[in-house]
Amino acid sequence: MLLSLSKITKSYQSAEGPVQVLKGVDLDLMPAESVALTGESGSGKSTLLHLAGGLDRPDTGAIFMNGRDVGTLDDNGRARYRRSEVGLVFQQFNLIPSLDVAANISFHARLADRFDLEWERELIDRLGLEPLLRRYPEQLSGGQQQRVAIGRTLAARPPLVLADEPTGNLDETTADAVLDLMLSLTQNAGCALLLVTHSTRLADKLDRKVLLRGGRIVA
């Protein structure tokens, strides 16, 4: 078992009072497995992803990564966890605007001390980023930016890749191409993938689908 989430609850304060987003979620992920997390808006998909990625802490419940409880880690521990065990891909790409494409791609791998030039070259080649290496994020289209974000995540070869609607800002054709590439590369790198998506069509491409509704996994 790579990732195991057990009885996870999470609530947020809103103007109207506390809102419980997750109401006891259980989810397991095997190494190199790809899982699609689907559900309506507000069902708690992104929150679950953030908890799995160590970006946030659950109110109750446990998160185990390779058998280690990461849900109770302090700020420093979670920073280390994100650096070395998780790779995140977001809908808004969230590239580092001050770095060019080449530096963006190698950034996480270097941080995690897993920089591998050969693997990075392969990624660049597969993602078709060679002509864009000296460009800055603001000079790229949405699809190009997302390819860079995927490259950045996979360059570090994290055991777990968490992707939050990575194709949400892209048109259908580009979205298909980007996801295919992502699946192929994660498989190649031996990474597990937990992907949040609204699209059933895209979810069908993954090993398994999980449906989240009202803060609970229903299928």
Partner: protein
């Protein structure tokens, strides 16, 4: 509809109180520093005008001798006989013991009412003024100084400036020993028709029209220009804050502008509303600024008054009165400055297409082209500065060099920093280091205005600090040379002076008379001193240049020394002949430095001086004695002659006093420097605070990849310090260039002396420490915000939903 639209525009500020406070404070600080300086200048100038109108009767036309010599009484008699309504004046400086007072002797019977300064409405007033022992009419402060120093009765009048006394012409004649010779003749405002022309009756006299600018105003022009320049620098630094705040508010409201226009608000109405908003803020902040400026000026004025008194002998009251002209000028500057800072943003709104997308912080993202243009302008300004420095002349040219140098350097700073950061980035290997330099470069456009303001403030500090420290060191060395005598004695009368001359040689190593007269040389009123032939002068007197046998020529009465001010202003060469009063022609044998004296001065041999001007006062002496014996000799003189303590001054005490005057002279400059630095620190703080609002999207990805908030916060501090340090390093050469301009151009033009430039790295370290503290203070709040930022806020950057 427009009211609703205006309310919508203003609602922006309700959600951004800190930004509003920044804008208001920026305008208020800029206005305060400017109007504070103007208040001081207005007060001083009003005081000169008042003094001139009272002491010099400059509201009336006057007659002066063309050759600068006293006017014989016979000339006055000729004018009266010809029917001219004129009144004589005898004036001069007189020492009442240690108190040097300007005596103005008038004839109350012929002096027009406007020239009397004091009301003499009845016969008893006039009788008291001219009768008996006479009367000295003085200010309360002068009356206090004269207590027990004179037997002439003293009357206090609030209308008379300090250190001056009005008296009857006969009393002035007696005390000043003028022998009836007049200083000037005042012409009454009403004259009989058909009088013979003045040129026919008294061709030896020249007419000076009524209302000429007071001498003191002319003399102190450069000082006030210096103050104005500093006030303006602080104002410009303050405007950087305003520019930054208005630019940001306009950019943040682009979407609002678009919406307003799409619902039918015309471009003209929108622009008018934005101008109205800007003016409203400028007005409110300007009021705050003028009030702060008033208190600032009140705090600084005593220092300025002491400076003016120390440098020029000008008497300016230490308290401030409310003058409508500077209130209005302050408000006008606030309005004009704010409009100037907003004009670019307004122009952009005018030219923004109705469907233009909002580009948050596009205003701050200087394009490569803009940076290149800015750098080119910077280089052009530096070239102008260099051309003016080596080819221009005059004080205004000096200030133009200063302005071009500072502005040019400030404009070049962003390009320089960008280049340095790029170099650092290219040399870095580690991912975080590469990111750190790249991210710092990304922040540069948003911080560049604040950094430019910081550069101006730091360079001004380094420049003025170098100038003052160079001046201090030179001045102290010069004082050591010039104040060579161990004791300085002032006799109370000529008889006492004669007894001292007999007594002193047996009790000291040497007696150096300090005798002088006043008169016109090359058309300028100045002092002419006599020096005895003594090794003290040959060994110590600070000569800048001289003929091989300079002291021999002076001793023989064939040569004269001129001070640096006279030498520079009149382009005198050694060997040139100048004519002293009463037609005494002497050759210039040398030039000496004479810091702190705004006027020209001449030194001749003592014997020759006494031969030419036998009536000069012979009251003051410098005494050479073994330094350890000075206190004993002082006691001995006091016992033998009953001289009060204030008439026997030890060298150390005189040096202390001179140094105190020196320090006071630059106290105001120092205060303005600190204030400018404080404003620059505030500009940096506001910029960092503004940027911190847009930092989360830039930092969140790095945080998500496993960098702790604490580490990001530390890096933010390091980034700020790195930028401050880089700016500080640039400020040093700019400051040194500024110091050179001040010492070699501005001082020479303004004061008439040039000082050697010295370098004081320890001062830079002190300034660096102050700047470091200011940097840490400016970054504290934004970084604290980041260090404790709620992870939920960082998550919001990624979250599309929950």
């Amino acid at each position: 509809m427009n009211r609703v639209a205006f309310a919508a525009l203003l609602s922006h500020w309700r959600h951004r109180p800190l930004q509003l406070a920044t804008l208001i404070l920026g305008i208020a600080l800029a206005t305060a520093l400017w109007s504070g300086v103007q208040a001081i200048n207005a007060e001083a100038r009003a005081s000169y005008t008042r003094a001139a109108s009272i002491l010099e009767q400059n509201g009336l036309a006057q007659l002066l001798a063309r050759d600068g010599n006293p006017i014989p009484i016979t000339v006055f008699a000729k004018l009266r006989r010809a029917g001219w309504n004129v009144s004589p004046v005898i004036e001069g400086d007189y020492r009442f013991g240690p108190a040097r007072i300007r005596l103005i002797g008038i004839d109350p019977l012929t002096m027009p009412t406007e020239g009397r300064a004091i009301a003499m409405s009845s016969s008893p007033d006039v009788v008291t003024f001219i009768g008996g022992q006479g009367l000295l009419v003085v200010s309360p402060a002068t009356a206090a100084r004269l207590k027990d120093l004179t037997s002439v009765p003293v009357k206090v009048s609030g209308d008379i400036p300090d250190d001056a006394a009005f008296t009857d012409i006969s009393v002035a004649d007696r005390l000043l020993e003028k022998g009836g010779a007049l200083s000037r003749i005042v012409i009454g405002p009403s004259q009989r028709p058909g009088l013979p022309a003045l040129a026919d009756v008294a061709p030896e006299l020249a007419l000076q029209s009524a209302g000429d600018r007071p001498d003191m105003a002319r003399l102190t022009d450069s000082f006030h220009l210096n103050l104005t320049a500093f006030g303006f620098l602080a104002f410009v630094v303050g405007l950087f804050i305003v520019y930054s705040a208005t630019g940001l508010s306009f950019e943040q409201r682009r979407a609002t502008f678009r919406t307003l226009r799409s619902v039918g608000i015309s471009l003209r109405s929108l622009t008018a509303m934005l101008i109205a908003e800007t003016l409203l803020f400028a007005f409110i902040a300007g009021l705050f600024g003028v009030v702060i400026g008033y208190f600032l000026a009140s705090a600084l004025l005593p220092g300025v008054a002491a400076t003016l008194s120390g440098l020029y002998g000008a008497s300016v009251p230490g308290s401030l009165s409310l003058r409508p002209e500077w209130w209005l000028a302050g408000m006008a500057m606030a309005l004009a400055g704010t409009m100037l800072s907003s004009v670019q943003s307004l122009w952009q709104v005018r030219h923004m297409p109705i469907l233009a997308a909002a580009q948050p912080r596009a205003w701050a993202r200087a394009s490569a082209m803009a940076l290149r243009l800015q750098s080119l302008l910077g280089v052009a300004l530096l070239m102008v500065a260099a051309a003016l420095a080596f080819g221009g002349s005059g004080l205004l040219s000096g200030f133009a060099v200063l302005g071009s140098l500072l502005l040019g350097a400030a404009l070049l700073l962003p390009a320089f920093l960008s280049g340095a950061l790029q170099l650092a980035e290219s040399r870095s290997r580690k991912a975080m280091t590469v990111w750190f330099w790249a991210d710092t470069r990304l922040q540069l456009p948003g911080l560049s205005l604040a950094l430019m303001a910081l550069l101006l403030a730091l360079a001004a500090n380094v420049g003025v600090g170098t100038m003052v420290s160079s001046f201090r060191l030179t001045f102290l060395g010069w004082l050591d040379q010039r104040l060579a005598a161990e004791l300085y004695i002032t006799a109370r009368s000529e008889a006492e002076a004669a007894r001292l001359r007999e007594w002193l040689p047996q009790h000291s190593n040497a007696v150096l008379p300090i005798w002088n007269t006043e008169g016109k040389v090359l058309g300028e009123q100045m002092q002419i001193f006599g020096v005895a032939d003594d090794r003290t002068y040959r060994d110590h007197w600070p000569l800048l240049m001289g003929t091989p046998d300079v002291w021999g020529q002076v001793e023989k009465g064939e040569g004269a020394l001129v001070n640096e001010q006279l030498w520079r202003s009149r382009h005198i060469r050694t060997g040139q002949t100048i004519t002293l009063p009463e037609g005494w022609a002497v050759k210039v044998a040398g030039v000496y430095s004479d810091y702190g004296n705004p006027k020209g001065q001449v030194i001749v041999g003592l014997d020759a001086l006494v031969r030419r001007y036998p009536t000069i006062a012979k009251l003051r002496y410098g005494i050479r004695v073994d330094p350890s014996a000075a206190p004993a000799l002082k006691r001995e003189i006091a016992e033998a002659f009953g001289l009060p303590d204030s008439n026997i001054i030890e060298q150390a005490s005189l040096k202390r006093r001179s140094q105190a005057v020196f320090e006071q002279t630059f106290a105001v400059t120092g205060a303005l420097n600190v204030l400018t630095l404080a404003v620059a620190g505030f500009a940096m703080f506001t910029s960092l605070l503004t940027l911190s609002g847009s930092r989360l999207p830039q930092l969140a990805p790095v945080w998500a990849m496993g960098v702790r908030r604490r580490d990001l916060a530390v890096l933010e501090v390091v980034r700020t310090l790195a930028l401050w340090l880089a700016t500080f390093l640039v400020a040093i050469p700019v400051g040194l260039a500024l110091a050179w301009v001040l010492l070699a151009i501005v001082n020479v033009e303004a004061f008439g002396w040039r000082l050697p430039m010295m370098i004081f790295p320890a001062d830079w370290l002190r300034l660096a420490a102050v700047a470091l503290l200011a940097a840490l203070a400016s970054v504290f709040i934004p970084v604290r915000r980041l260090a404790i930022v709620n992870p939920a806020d960082l998550l919001r950057v990624f979250a599309n939903e929950r």
